[in-house]
């Protein structure tokens, strides 16, 4: 009894109460921002949401319009980026997990890939500008898609490798024991077992690039008009949000909020779906 009432014991308990209180507060603080940002976004975004947003082009300053051309541009460039980046990423991840798991090459690639994964996206924009826009002499949707593809690759490499490593070796041994060559073992057994996880990786990559702005600013630039020409500048939602939000026009600012809402909903849906797929495959 004397021990529990001693000043030392009380001080330790007090210290514990204070720090644990801080941990509680910190969590509330972190969640507060999520709630604040989402609440603001939903409020401002939904008040500007209408059918016109999806059916009309971006307006000149001072008049109403929609976001059809940037939505289309974002879809086109995101799709292309995924089509370019995914095969490359999957193949590289396959090498790292299946053929050269303990290679020196794999170790270097894994390290470099992790650097690419967190490299500032604006630097990737500069890279594509240098090798493509500066060489051809004009901005283009191809350059934008390529810049996004460079962001897709490391995400897909990482998840493909991680997921293939999780495939039990007994499956591989079973495939080998019935005489399957390695290529068929990988495509028919390993890929099939890791399918859900690899799909998650692609979805996360889409979520990542659908909000990327910096690499598009000086590759795809922007376009006020409807354009499907891949060799010309193309509008994208993030670039339009950037331009419209910093403008002094009320109509443009409103559209920027609406665009921000569309992107956020898309990204959150993608990451929640990805999470569901991942947890479902884990429970199987």
């Amino acid at each position: 009894m004397a021990l529990t009432t001693s000043p030392l014991y009380a001080a330790r308990r007090r210290k514990n109460a204070i720090t644990m209180g801080l941990a509680f507060l910190a969590t509330a603080f972190g969640l507060l921002w999520l709630v604040l940002i989402l609440a603001n976004l939903l409020w401002e975004g939904f008040s500007g949401l209408s059918l016109a947003v999806f059916t009309q082009m971006t307006p000149p300053p001072g008049s109403d319009g929609g976001l059809l051309n940037p939505i289309l541009g974002s879809l086109v460039m995101t799709t292309l980026a995924v089509l370019i980046g995914t095969p490359l990423g999957v193949l590289a991840g396959t090498y790292m997990a299946e053929y050269g798991r303990y290679d020196r090459v794999t170790m270097v690639v894994r390290f470099v890939n992790d650097i690419l994964l967190s490299a500032p996206s604006i630097v990737i924009g500069l890279f594509i500008y240098e090798i493509m826009v500066a060489q051809v002499g004009h901005f283009s949707a191809w350059a934008g898609a390529l810049a996004l593809a460079v962001i897709v690759v490391p995400v897909v490499v990482r998840t493909t490798e991680d997921m293939l490593v999780l495939v039990p070796d007994t499956l591989r041994e079973a495939a080998a024991s019935i005489g399957l060559p390695r290529v068929l073992m990988i495509t028919n057994v390993a890929y099939r077992a890791a399918r859900a996880g690899m799909l998650t990786g692609v979805l996360l990559a889409v979520a990542r690039i659908s909000g990327e702005t910096a690499p598009l600013l000086f590759t795809a630039l922007n376009n006020q008009f409807w354009s499907l020409n891949m060799n010309a500048p193309m509008a994208s939602l993030p670039a339009v949000i950037f331009q419209f939000a910093l403008s002094p026009y009320k109509e443009w600012q409103k559209l920027a909020w609406t665009g921000a809402l569309i992107i956020t909903l898309a990204v959150l849906t993608l990451s929640i779906v990805a999470r569901l797929i991942a947890s479902k495959s884990k429970s199987q």
Partner: protein, 339 residues
């Protein structure tokens, strides 16, 4: 090509010898084909893996190539000059570098303690049923694109700071010598403090989720032993969990720092894009990435473009060092946990 294992199974040992020979020849051909395919696929995947290396070296070389004009003209002076004047074609990188470092420091000062405390909450205090939802919510915060933070910072957060927080800071710290220069000047709303705070919100989820992961890797028996001695939760965290995970936690912080240094859009909206070094963190400034985002499409002169690419190179070098250090530390921890 007929995949092995599909189609009817025929064996060499067939009653009719001619059919048997034919089958054996077919089989040899199929096997030869499979062997080629196997080697082909191996080289294809190896090529893809090497392509990842090519991308990184491509980035480095293109940045060096693009910035060579500016670097040869200004030399080492580029790193230490404050001038940034497109008209007279005088460019120096020190004020964007300064802005990048100051905003990142502000972000880390806030995000590191808060992130660690959230991780402590998630691993030690939080009831089991709440762990997943809170963890997912924090990770959703990481998934929100940076431009959303930017637009929110510009329209909501900056006016709020201007009206309530900044006048308060000026009033409180104004009379204190030393601190008065850090919190000097009118409350603009936008500026380095605002950018740093937005960055803090952005890197918080990264630090939290990595810290949580490494905290969870602490063997329960170590914690149980400490609890068994009568340690409080705080003492367990302070004297068992943190020492055990130190390398990982530092790695996570560096990863967050890498994000903060390179973050573009959120900062561009709220930094004010002013090429000068102010002692006051309430003043507008600029960062490397914000300068590039704001000015690159306007830059027509070759030396202007080249100077901006040189800024990009500096940013890449800084983040490369930080990220490489972070990855090496996390890898070291993983090895220890794996062993």
């Amino acid at each position: 090509m007929q995949p092995a294992g599909r189609g009817p199974v025929v064996d060499v040992a067939l009653p009719d010898r001619r059919v048997g020979v034919q089958t054996a020849v077919d089989r040899a051909r199929v096997l030869q084909k499979l062997k080629l395919n196997d080697a082909g696929f191996r080289y294809l995947t190896r090529g893809a893996a090497i392509a990842v290396l090519v991308i990184l070296s491509g980035i480095i070389f293109s940045l060096i190539w693009g910035s060579s004009l500016a670097l040869s003209k200004f030399g080492f002076g580029f790193l230490v000059t404050e001038a940034w004047n497109p008209v007279t074609e005088q460019f120096g990188a020190i004020s964007p570098i300064y802005g990048t470092i100051v905003t990142s420091i502000i972000a880390m000062l806030i995000a590191v303690p808060v992130g660690l405390f959230i991780a402590v909450f998630l691993t030690e205090l939080c009831p089991m049923w709440l762990r997943r939802p809170v963890g997912i919510a924090i990770e959703l915060l990481a998934g929100i694109p940076s431009i959303i933070y930017g637009i929110w910072g510009l329209f909501v957060f900056a006016p709020f700071l201007q009206q309530y927080i900044q006048p308060f800071l000026i009033a409180v710290f104004g009379p204190i010598p030393g601190l008065s220069t850090i919190f000097a000047g009118p409350p603009y709303g936008i500026g380095m403090l605002t950018a740093g705070l937005i960055l803090a919100i952005m890197v918080l989820p990264f630090i939290t989720s990595i810290s949580r992961d490494v905290f969870e890797a602490v063997p329960p028996v170590l914690k149980e032993a400490a609890y068994g001695l009568g340690c409080t939760t705080w003492e367990v965290v302070r004297y068992v969990v943190l020492p055990y995970t130190r390398v990982g936690v530092i790695g996570g912080m560096m990863l967050g720092l890498g994000r903060a240094l390179g973050e573009t859009m959120a900062v561009t909206f709220v930094i004010g894009n002013a090429h000068r070094i102010s002692a006051s963190i309430l003043a507008p400034g600029t960062t490397i990435s914000a300068t590039i985002a704001n000015e690159f499409t306007e830059a027509v002169e070759e030396i202007y473009t080249s100077s901006l690419i040189a800024l990009g190179l500096i940013l890449f070098v800084i983040t490369f060092i930080v990220l490489a250090a972070a990855r090496l530390m996390l890898a070291r921890l993983n090895r220890r946990v794996g062993a």
